[in-house]
């Protein structure tokens, strides 16, 4: 089994083949081991340039991408919107074209607008095709775009589940997809504003997992049927018999808006603690993409308990992002017509 990652860019999980996902997860196994060595660096991407462009606040994702690039020996530059020319009125396409003209190999983009990464990738590919020099265009990685997708989060979640269930199901650690195929995964919280939930639903569907969304009715996405998930407006029935309970952060700005009456009421009806977890399988995995609001969507006991995979997810994040950067930056070749 030698899966290959085919696309030029990583813009979302939707549209990827199972073999693309497997190539990234299998590669991440090797990179996971690199981060546990005394010298946490390999020379693989020496001479490559990776630019992280963040138009939205983020500490963990940006740090994770930065470490991933540095552990591959690439040169990594971070740009945040507050210090960039965006504040001077430059368009997104111009900012990206400028960065690419400095010869970046990979652009990692986080942007509040859904579809921003796709837009940039298409622009850069079109520019490269029109260039007489034949220079390759930068590869684009979506590090979260609006309410659309956050593919590396879904990949690191899948990596965490695969390692965990390979262990508990007694299979070899990196032995193919079998270890997380067919799991029941309950995703609870603000699913309508969550690109993490969407990316996870797409990925888990590729592996035949049963995905359930649980949220107050005001926080359910309108197009939820197209994601192929079961929807619940209470937590308990969604968690019933689940192998994985993924708890999403509730954003304060939503609570203070019209969608939820109060933080306390949310904590009481949708907050998940050890007692709520009794409905799930006894060894169910508890996941949270962070940052956590302890005592709101997740109890402190649960966050620190032995079922919690929160810190495993963070560790997996660096390995998965190394794998993504490796597969994109190490692949030579010009864009083909319509290949985005």
């Amino acid at each position: 089994m030698s899966a290959r990652f085919q696309p030029r860019h990583l813009l979302g999980i939707e549209g990827l083949a199972q073999s693309d996902v497997l190539a990234l997860l299998d590669g991440a196994e090797a990179f996971f081991e690199v981060s546990r060595r005394p010298v946490r660096k390999v020379p693989t991407l020496r001479g490559k340039t990776i630019i992280n462009v963040f138009f939205e606040a983020s500490t963990r994702t940006r740090t994770s991408f930065e470490l991933a690039g540095k552990r591959l020996s690439a040169d990594v530059v971070n740009i945040s919107a507050s210090t960039s020319s965006v504040t001077k009125g430059e368009t997104l396409a111009d900012t990206m074209a400028t960065l690419e003209a400095m010869r970046s190999d990979v652009l990692v983009i986080r942007h509040p607008a859904s579809g921003a990464a796709q837009y940039v990738a298409e622009k850069l590919d079109a520019m490269a095709l029109a260039r007489p020099s034949g220079l390759d265009a930068s590869r684009v990685v979506n590090a979260g775009d609006g309410l659309h997708e956050h593919p590396t989060q879904a990949l690191l979640d899948a990596f965490t589940m695969r390692r965990h269930f390979a262990r508990t199901r007694g299979a070899a650690e990196s032995d193919g997809p079998a270890s997380f195929e067919g799991l029941t995964v309950a995703i609870c919280g603000d699913v309508s504003h969550s690109r993490v939930a969407r990316s996870n639903a797409h990925l888990l569907n590729l592996f035949g997992c049963k995905v359930r969304f649980a949220a107050p009715r005001t926080l359910l996405p309108v197009d939820v049927e197209s994601l192929g998930v079961e929807v619940f407006d209470r937590v308990e029935p969604a968690i019933e018999g689940a192998d994985v309970v993924m708890i999403l952060r509730i954003q304060r700005e939503r609570i203070e808006g019209a969608l939820l009456p109060s933080m306390r009421e949310y904590a009481r009806t949708f907050g998940i603690g050890e007692r709520t977890m009794r409905a799930a399988k006894p060894d169910a995995l508890v996941m949270h993409p962070g940052p956590m609001n302890r005592g709101v969507e997740i109890s402190a006991d649960l966050a620190d308990g032995k079922q919690s995979a929160v810190l495993d997810q963070v560790e997996a994040g660096v390995a998965v992002r190394m794998s993504v950067l490796y597969h994109l930056a190490a692949d030579p070749g010009l864009p083909r017509e319509g290949s985005t």
């Binding site: 290959r4 299998d26 590669g27 060595r37 010298v39 390999v42 020496r46 692949d331």
Partner: protein, 172 residues
């Protein structure tokens, strides 16, 4: 066209001899490191032979995919395996083990990889078959058999079953 380079018996004798040479020339603490994937089984056989001779030797593996000199320009390796070295590399005599030695670019990458685990007292190189065709100034310390094989031929080394042995075949 297929010609035999090594019979099953000859491989066994070569392994036994190399194991003794390693014990004679290297100094404890020792460690064997197989270069994935071909060097893995050779290193296992050497460890077994050395343990029969009374010197239990820890065994590790390195995968060189991430250290290749063309890693950033060749298409991504679809199968990068994990490396595993559980013994203390600092101050040890480490014997890198490969099955077939040719250009030595793999060995160069393996040395780089190994140095990320620590600073060995000395790195040695053992290879079951040296087919010539070096592209780097690297020489093996322990060799099973040295036979010049033309670059237009492919060498096959088979470990298991009744067809055990090594052959050179014209590339088709």
């Amino acid at each position: 066209m297929k010609r035999a380079l090594f019979s099953s018996d000859e491989i066994d004798r070569a392994i036994a001899r190399i194991a003794l040479e390693i014990l004679e020339r290297t100094r404890a603490p020792r460690g064997l490191v197989g270069i994935r994937r071909g060097g893995g089984p050779v290193a296992e056989l050497l460890a077994e032979a050395m343990s029969k001779a009374g010197a239990t030797t820890p065994l590790g593996t390195v995968d060189i995919a991430l250290y290749r000199d063309d890693a950033a320009s060749a298409p991504p390796d679809p199968k990068i395996g994990p490396s595993r070295i559980d013994f203390q590399v600092d101050g040890a005599d480490v014997i890198l083990v490969d099955d077939v030695l040719q250009t030595a670019r793999t060995v160069r990458a393996a040395i780089d990889a190994l140095l990320d685990w620590g600073r060995p007292r000395r790195i040695w190189l053992a290879s079951l078959l040296d087919r010539g065709g070096r592209e780097l100034p690297i020489a093996p310390d322990f060799v099973g058999r040295a036979i010049e094989v033309s670059p237009s031929e492919r060498v096959a080394l088979i470990w298991t079953g009744t067809e055990r042995g090594a052959w050179a075949e014209t590339k088709g």
